[in-house]
Amino acid sequence: MNAHWIKTLWALMRRELWESPVAFKWTPIGIGIFLIFLSVITLIIYTQFDASLSSLFDGLRMLAERSVEERSLAVTAGLFSVATIFFQLMLLIILFYLSGSLYDDRKDRSILFWKSLPVSDSMTVASKLLTACLLVPGMFLFAIVLTHLVLLLFATVLSLLAGLNPITTFWLPASLPRLWTVMALGLIVQALWLLPVYAWITFCSSWAPRLPILIAFGIPAGIALVQHSWSLATSFSLPGTNIGWIILQRLGSGVLPSNIDIEFGNTNDIDFNEDLFMSFGNLLDVLLDPAMGIGLAIAAVFIAGAIWFRRRATDN
């Protein structure tokens, strides 16, 4: 990859940001503001029951008395649960963005302008996927970091009011640089994990004559239904191999904190530690999972297909 490519890709990715400022800029900022607003409201409601906030302060003092590991786990859990709300909405935004990414300019004919620029079709497709895999997660992570900082400032004020040291109670146990690094890497691993899904939607966006989002969801849903009916009719079924189930499993797994597999019925075995949220260890596990490799191979096929259709696409 040379400097010219990087410059072109960056220009194309910034173009995406200009096209969808609401989805990529204002949504993460909006979620952050909403969460901060929510915690302020919660605090206000809390004062209605306990005007002096004494029970809240007692809780904080109890937390401060716990061991470093336990404090760390509690604070990280809080910060991760905040991030999870961002992650879920981000996934939705990315799926919708990709479904329109190679369709909207065909619909409004501006594809003729884009194709008048000396940019190859593979570069165009790459810029859309890189936007989904890096730029959008980057924007959301930035909003997460800001939200974390504001919430920790709230916690600081509260702990000072409770006569506690905010540094040792919240800031040090949060180990923010480590937390944000693991989140950044986690978002990249998650993007790779979901790349077959992203590539499929981009592929549909590249050829669908209309409603690419419905086509992208409808085709696998249809296949899943046919497969399911076939299994019922022939009483030949392989549980877990239904395509719809496989796709849903993929969307619901990966490295994001809400996605950790918990074996129900075996809850006693769960070891409550950081691995439950996101850690360097489980990032590596997901990267080395054979399912990751299979997913990337499938993604490569769909990406090649998306480029093939894009090369033939014009305004009609």
Binding site: K7, T8, A11, L12, R15, W18, E19, D105, D108, R109, S110, I111, L112, F113, W114, K115, S116, L117, P118, V119, S120, D121, M123, R311, R312, T314, D315
Partner: protein, 294 residues
């Protein structure tokens, strides 16, 4: 000097219709070519093939490249306005200029600003808030600010007022065009472009009806407003076309000596529009050259 465009047996079918039917074409550099034809004649199909935007059969080379496989490289030296108002509607003017600057190695921001200077287009405006004419003005400014070897203009001045159209063609001729460049224009308003063309191509049903330099055309075709008593004699010379204007018969001849014609009446050079009607048939008059320019 290599041909800018070289096509051999260029063909394209849409179902049963042949949009392009074995077209052979050579356009050298330093020419301004008018590609004129009625609606559905294959103009756009030909231009799309040249720009790498559509499939085709046969051989086609543009600036030494195969457009179907090398569109991105070709676009470094080729500019086009494929149709009106295809700039992305969500974008702001400054964004489009910045993107073109970053993505096009031959784009000059100064040139673009120079062409935009006389318009009411603001840098912060979104394309969707501009009038149709302003979008075309912006697109023309972008395209003319690119130092390209081939400029393809498909109905470039649709929706523009007369003053801007006049200015555009004068800019095109005086500031943009030179010996190294080639310009291909399709338009229905032939009267506006005929004085700047060096070559003329008529296309109908996917075939080239005429492909010639303007000098040759002026040499070859003559129009004669025949004296009332000479009409039969003039008809004997097998005119291509005959029309009646204010009771006078005007006949168009192919390769008939003008000395002979002067005996029959008043001789002059036919306009492109008259030639079009003569060669393409009256039935196409409505769709082909409807707007007798403002």
């Amino acid at each position: 000097m290599n041909a800018t465009i070289r096509a051999r047996n260029l063909s394209r079918r849409f179902g049963q219709t042949r949009a392009l039917d074995g077209v052979d074409l050579d356009i050298p550099s330093g020419r301004i070519v008018g590609l004129i034809g009625p609606n559905g004649a294959g103009k756009t199909t030909a231009l799309k093939a040249i720009l790498g935007l559509g499939r085709y059969d046969g051989d086609l080379e543009v600036l030494g490249l195969d457009p179907s496989s090398s569109r991105d490289r070709l676009m470094e030296d080729v500019c086009f306005i494929a149709d009106v108002a295809v700039l992305p509607r969500w974008a702001r003017v400054k964004h489009i200029i910045q993107l073109t600057e970053e993505l096009h190695p031959r784009f000059s921001r100064e040139q673009c600003m120079f062409y935009l200077k006389n318009t009411k287009i603001k840098m912060d405006s979104k394309v969707k808030s501009l009038s149709k004419g302003m979008v075309v003005q912006l697109h023309l400014a972008l395209v003319m600010a690119i130092d390209a070897k081939l400029l393809v203009l498909d109905e470039p001045t649709l929706g523009l007022d007369i003053i801007f159209r006049k200015r555009f063609y004068s800019n095109l001729l005086n500031e943009y065009f030179d010996e190294e460049r080639t310009i291909v224009i399709t338009t229905h308003q032939v009267e506006e472009v005929e004085h700047i063309l060096t070559d003329l191509i008529f296309i109908k049903d996917g075939k080239l009806i005429l492909n010639s330099t303007m000098d040759d055309i002026h040499e070859r075709y003559t129009e004669c407003m025949v004296k009332p008593d000479q009409v039969e004699q003039a008809r004997a010379l097998k005119p291509l076309h005959e029309r009646v204007l204010f009771g006078r018969h005007i006949l168009l001849f192919d390769q008939v000596e003008s000395a002979r014609l002067r005996e029959l009446g008043e001789v002059h050079k036919p306009s492109v529009a008259d030639l079009f009607v003569a060669l393409m048939g009256d039935d196409e008059e409505q769709s082909g050259i409807g707007e007798n320019a403002a």
